[in-house]
Amino acid sequence: MRVNFTVNGRPQQADDVWEGESLLYVLRERLGLPGSKNACEQGECGSCTVRLDGLPVCACLVAAGQAEGREVVTVEGLAEHARRRAAGDGTTARAPAGTSLDEARRWTPAPGGPGAQALSPVQQAFVDAGAVQCGFCTPGLLVAADELIERNPEPSDADIREALSGNLCRCTGYETILDAVRLAAARAGEAG
């Protein structure tokens, strides 16, 4: 089957998709967006977390066909998503309006290489706080944490733990991840 949807503000089309293929498989293997990770394929680890029409979901549990006509944000589009949110243009992924063709044309993929792309506040905070070790959990955690701060700019520790409770990390013991989210929220507060 063919699936049409928007990924990180850009219209995408995937052909020859099998009935059983997940959104995660299509993103990783058909659209060349391997940033979302597969660590369980069972909805248990959160490594595959993306936003589907604004809501954080496990992409491994979403059938590709369910994404038809909808808007997906992955870790690859997180910095751009945060920039647009900061610019207040209202097209955060939760808005149902979708992406205009014009916006889609203006979208450019990040030019390669470390540092080439400005990081979103949450991404920068993960680097600064030492929240990244092996990094396999990181893409999913970033999407979840970014959504939390968008929804709740001043989360308490209990709020952060609750929001990230579907994301496993085996390396850090979570302390630096909490630090990173606190840091990102605090910086957003200062900037705002």
Partner: protein, 790 residues
């Protein structure tokens, strides 16, 4: 080597050098999603490989029919044991592991056949069409069944080094450690405590599953991009299986999503290469989580019997212990795990009379091998439980009793080895104990309604505080650093220095497996400190440079860090020689002063700038490769266990504070404080991250993590739905207190840090649960039914 004087840069600092929390060089790539893990690799024309695994724990293979699988459209190859081109077995130490089962399967999940197809689902469906006829065989699953008269022998005709000294062929290795006179000490003891303990099978549960991409090359060789812990050990095992010389198997490390010991053994490495060479196409293999539980070795489950004797005034007189580790179907690193368990069985205490034996079994359970803590974890759970019981019998505070018996620098291990570096065991305990206690009843809010998130059971809303009891527990442990028992544990580093566009740039090339621990950060820091440059380029780890040894045993910062350090110092000497030749005539300091490299300049020790480094170099490229070794160790005597078997010791202590819902048996760990001596925190942020991560893996073993294997050898819970690892809701605040008491034998005085916190975390949590419940709790993980008696 000893770092007698402060190395250049440590005192004044080139930015981002040793001792700073320099950011990870791969951090940006990892937060943008661009970092390429092994499972992200892609190649034009690539096929997908899958593994067919045994559904039985022990069975004879009567026949294999692959015709239906081969006839499946989209399938390019199906391989069984009969198709192997060269060596059919491999292993880290003992080559007892079949590449594909040859006539017999010995554990549930053993690889039997391989399929390569153009879509992973096609490959899976084809694998399901392979018909294997099995005849089930009796299963051995514990010491009794493995050593019973007439027990099936898993590996008849063993010819490995350990076979001659074990009492039964189903014992992989046995190591006694005997010192002093236990019988006489027992006669003098005022208090004797004995107990039997059990540790369940823990999984490394790294998040990035086993994966790699094998690309056949024009010269008949293969290029393998792989997530592993030790490229050269893989190479040594893969090349004979492929029937290729090592130089035709070129390996490059790809992104590794955690390891914790679970990538020390081969998983899909040889399989992907075999399929690639058979089909002439690149082959990618990626395990899913289900397969990952079968695809790597686990932590040895253990049964431990301990007897401790002490005098009335609280002095440990003797320890007798017997540690039985279940090694499962193949040897993996069981012999070394046995050596660790035996030599560290007493813990970080001074005990003059010791009679210990540790052994590992061959059974039809899943193979066990390396996991963070490596034999020391199991022992620590048991000896720390014993220490608490002794303290209680003696009427002593458990921390004070431990401190009275704590080892210090100069102590003699039960192996006879003198601990010749700082061993601040009593101080670590003092620090965790002195920490202010977290407030009680944290669920109470100003508004009156409890915040259930702070209660045992959390959002399940199972209690509002009724039946919740607080407990506090302490533990301390000892771990060896580096490969022990006479192993030639070296690392190689190649360092280049050149001027690029007028700026000095250092390039570091090693084969070290970066698995998340931050070794790449540390290598860059060392190069900055030693060469006084800011720009450091890290080459991808591959087999074009010599071995860096394994990313395990807390050894990489020490050993590969040491190799980078020494290569840099050799480069530095060449810079000075070049400077003397080129510029010596202009300033007498070139010949007479102690020279330094700092901030991109050559300076005297007094700080006078002699030249820009780039001007000294001009077009010259200085490149040096160095192998570096730590102090040699020696094997333990096979009868007495005596010998200087270890390189260095590492110590950590924990205090656990828990709230237990005693009615439902639910545990909430409120705080898990750690104090650890790291000798020198080369990167404080990374060290803290290691300590917190290790602490939480210990917490997992204490209250939730266990691979459940039934008596017929079948794995019951191979998924993250049924094998639980701590989430952020299960994890408490983890305050960390880092001591830096230099070990003069190690680079910068550092002490391997990654494993020690995994040891004491488990017994501290269980001690706290015992304190809250009054239960004996002799098995981990502690489950709710153990607390409620249901």
């Amino acid at each position: 080597m000893a770092t007698a004087r402060t190395p250049a840069g440590l005192a004044h600092g080139t930015h981002g050098g040793v001792g700073e929390s320099a950011p990870r060089p791969d951090g940006t790539l990892k937060v943008t999603g661009e970092f390429a893990y092994a499972s992200d690799l892609w190649h034009e024309d690539m096929l997908w490989g899958v593994t067919l695994r045994s559904p039985h724990a022990h069975a004879r293979i009567l026949s294999a029919d692959v015709s239906a699988a081969l006839a499946t459209p989209g399938v390019y190859a199906v391989l069984t044991h009969a198709d192997l081109p060269a060596a059919t077995r491999y292993g880290l130490e003992i080559q007892d592991t079949p590449v594909l089962a040859d006539g017999v399967v010995r554990y549930h999940g053993e690889p039997v056949a391989l399929v390569a197809a153009d879509h992973p689902e096609t490959a899976r469906r084809a694998a399901a069409r392979i018909r294997i006829a099995y005849e089930e065989l009796p299963v051995v699953h514990d010491e009794e069944s493995a050593t019973a008269p007439g027990a099936p022998v898993l590996h008849p005709g063993r010819d490995d080094d350990h076979a001659v000294h074990v009492a039964h062929p189903n014992i992989v290795h046995r190591q006694p450690v005997v010192r002093g006179d236990v019988a006489a000490a027992r006669a003098r003891a005022d208090v004797v405590v004995s107990g039997d303990y059990e540790v369940g099978m823990q999984d490394q549960a790294f998040l990035g599953p086993e994966s790699g991409l094998a690309v056949p090359a024009g010269d008949g060789g293969v290029d393998l991009y792989i997530a592993t812990q030790w490229l050269h050990a893989d190479l040594r095992q893969i090349a004979p299986v492929l029937g290729l010389p090592e130089d035709k198997v070129r390996m490059t490390l790809s992104g590794v999503g955690g390891a914790f010991g679970g990538r020390e053994d081969l998983s899909m490495q040889a399989h992907a290469c075999l399929l690639a060479l058979r089909t002439g196409r690149p082959v990618k293999m990626v395990y899913n989580r289900f397969e990952s539980f079968f695809g790597h070795v686990h932590r040895h489950p253990a049964r431990l019997h301990y007897e401790h004797g002490a005098s009335r005034d609280g002095q440990l007189l003797y320890v007798q212990a017997r540690i039985v580790l279940d090694g499962g179907a193949y040897a993996s690193s069981s012999p070394a795990v046995v050596g660790n368990a035996a030599s560290l069985a007493v813990g970080p205490y001074v005990v003059d009379h010791v009679d210990v034996e540790a052994l590992a079994l061959y059974t039809n359970n899943p193979p066990c091998g390396a996991m963070r803590g490596f034999g020391a974890v199991q022992a620590c759970f048991a000896y720390e439980a014993q220490m608490d019981r002794l303290a209680e019998r003696l009427g002593l505070d458990p921390v004070e009793f431990r401190q009275r018996n704590a080892m210090a620098q100069g102590a003699v291990m039960p192996t006879g080895q003198v601990v010749d570096a700082p061993a601040p065991v009593a101080e670590l305990l003092r620090r965790v104990k002195a920490r202010p206690m977290p407030p009680g009843r944290p669920w109470e809010t100003a508004g009156g309604a409890p915040d259930v998130r702070a209660l045992p059971g959390g959002l399940s809303n199972t209690t509002h505080g009724e039946g919740v009891v607080r407990g506090v527990g302490y533990a301390v442990g000892i771990k060896n650093v580096g490969f022990s028992e006479g192993f030639d544990d070296y690392s190689t580093a190649r360092v280049r220095l050149e001027a690029v566009a007028g700026q000095p740039v250092a390039t570091v090339h090693t084969a070290m497996a970066e698995v998340g621990q931050g070794g790449v950060t540390v290598h860059a820091q060392i190069a900055r400190t030693e060469l006084g440059v800011t720009q450091v380029v890290l080459q991808p780890a591959d087999t074009r440079v010599g071995s860096a040894g394994s990313t395990s045993a807390s050894r990489q910062t020490y050993v590969t860090g040491g190799a980078v350090l020494h290569a840099c110092r050799a480069v530095r000497e060449e810079v000075f020689a070049l400077g003397r030749a080129r510029l010596g005539a202009y300033h007498p300091a070139w010949a007479h002063a102690e020279l330094l490299l700092e901030g991109g300049k050559v300076t005297t020790e007094a700080g006078e700038v002699l030249a820009d480094l780039a001007d000294v170099l001009e077009d010259e490229v200085i490149e040096v490769e160095r192998e570096w070794r730590h102090r040699p160790t020696e094997p333990f005597d096979l009868r007495t266990g005596q010998g200087d078997g270890h390189v260095q010791y590492s110590f950590a202590a924990h205090r656990a504070v828990v709230d237990v819902d005693t009615e439902l048996g639910l545990v909430k760990v409120v705080e898990l404080a750690c104090a650890q001596d790291v000798g020198k925190a080369v990167n404080p942020l990374a060290v803290t991250g290691q300590i917190q991560g290790g602490t939480v893996q210990g917490l997992g073993l204490a209250v939730m993590e266990e691979i459940v294997v039934s008596a017929d050898g079948l794995v019951r819970n191979p998924s993250f739905t049924d094998y639980l690892i701590p989430t952020v809701l299960d994890t408490p605040a983890i305050p960390v207190d880092v001591l830096e008491l230099a070990d003069e034998h190690a680079p910068y005085g550092l002490r391997g840090a990654g494993e020690a916190p995994t040891l004491s975390s488990t017994p501290a949590v269980v001690a706290a649960i015992r304190a809250a419940t009054g239960l004996a709790l002799k098995r981990v993980p502690v489950r709710p039914e153990h607390l409620t008696g249901t």
